[in-house]
Symmetry: C2
Subunit: 195 residues, 2 copies
């Protein structure tokens, strides 16, 4: 121990060094805290970057799918009208089995349009007569009392559907059988809940 009555230079230096040591300890603690904070922030920023990149990849796929679906839905109206126009062409069938060139050409274009919608992910769906009504693929546009088929069977197709599984462009518009009260098949009627 240094004699307190005779402090010498060495003791003074030691005291100063110890005071510096305290300051240095505080400074070190501050720096360590800052390092921990920055490491955490950097890690978070990198994680955010990774998430944004992953999300972007998903969003780009989704944006393309949405756009393709929207555009396909608009062309579906064109295809429906082509189908409708063809319904008025019966007299262009020629007796020998041939067709008028316009009828032949338009049928080919209609088939091309159906194939294109299928290639875009929306194959044409024609429900089979008698299959059970499925709200995921069918829309009931009318009902008709029938006693020859089970209630809920599809008994008519007004418009074909387009799509498959989870990706439906449009459900098929169908007529659905209801129970015939008196055993006689009646006329077609709109469903009660139709808008």
């Amino acid at each position: 121990m240094a004699d307190p009555a005779r402090p010498d230079a060495t003791a003074t230096e030691a005291g100063a060094a110890m005071a510096d040591d305290d300051t240095a300890a505080v400074r070190t603690a501050e720096l360590e805290e800052r390092v921990a904070f920055l490491e955490d922030q950097w890690r978070r920023a990198l994680a955010d970057l990774d998430n944004v990149r992953k999300r972007t990849t998903r969003e780009l796929v989704q944006a393309r799918t949405d756009e393709r679906t929207q555009v396909a839905a608009q062309w579906l109206h064109v295809l429906d009208n082509l189908d409708r126009a063809l319904e008025h062409a019966g007299d262009l069938e020629r007796p020998g089995g041939g067709q008028h060139p316009l009828l032949e050409g338009v049928r080919a274009v209609r088939d091309q349009a159906v194939a294109l919608l299928a290639s875009l992910g929306f194959p044409r769906q024609e429900p089979e007569m008698g299959e059970r009504f499925d709200p995921r693929r069918h829309e009931a546009v009318a009902t008709t009392p029938r006693n020859d088929v089970p209630e809920g069977a599809v008994v008519g197709v007004v418009l074909p559907g387009y799509g498959e599984d989870e990706r439906q462009l449009r459900p098929a518009a169908v007529v659905v059988a209801t129970a015939a009260d008196d055993g006689t098949a009646g006329g077609m009627s709109r469903p009660k809940d139709a808008g």
Copy 2:
């Protein structure tokens, strides 16, 4: 300075404190370097994040535009074939000015398809006779020697174009006038550079 011949406890402590001080200085310098490094990395990660977010917004718009264009280009083939089918329908015009229902229906569908392409950003372009050939909007599919119009004038349209300004779905396929060597208008010929 402590007397080297009589080292006392205080001098020893002071020496230890000074050694600690050196260690602390090294540690502080290391920490300061680490802080500077982390601040830089954090700043870069945040800048990257900002850039990725901005780029994503642009990429999403571009993905939608690309997809719309690709799908529209596929439907353009359907429209071309509809136009082609209509070329074979002359005899379905009725003497009184009426049309066969199929012809009427298909023309309406063709007009609907043209309007749809326009709404997707690709209006139909029918070059005017005599307008100057413009490689951004026209594709020369044939040339013909003519002395009644300037060289390079459009003198026939084989297929209409679709698009506007920078966004061309397809240039119009046109016949272009070349200088008539002998002053007589000759037949149509393929351009020399056509593939």
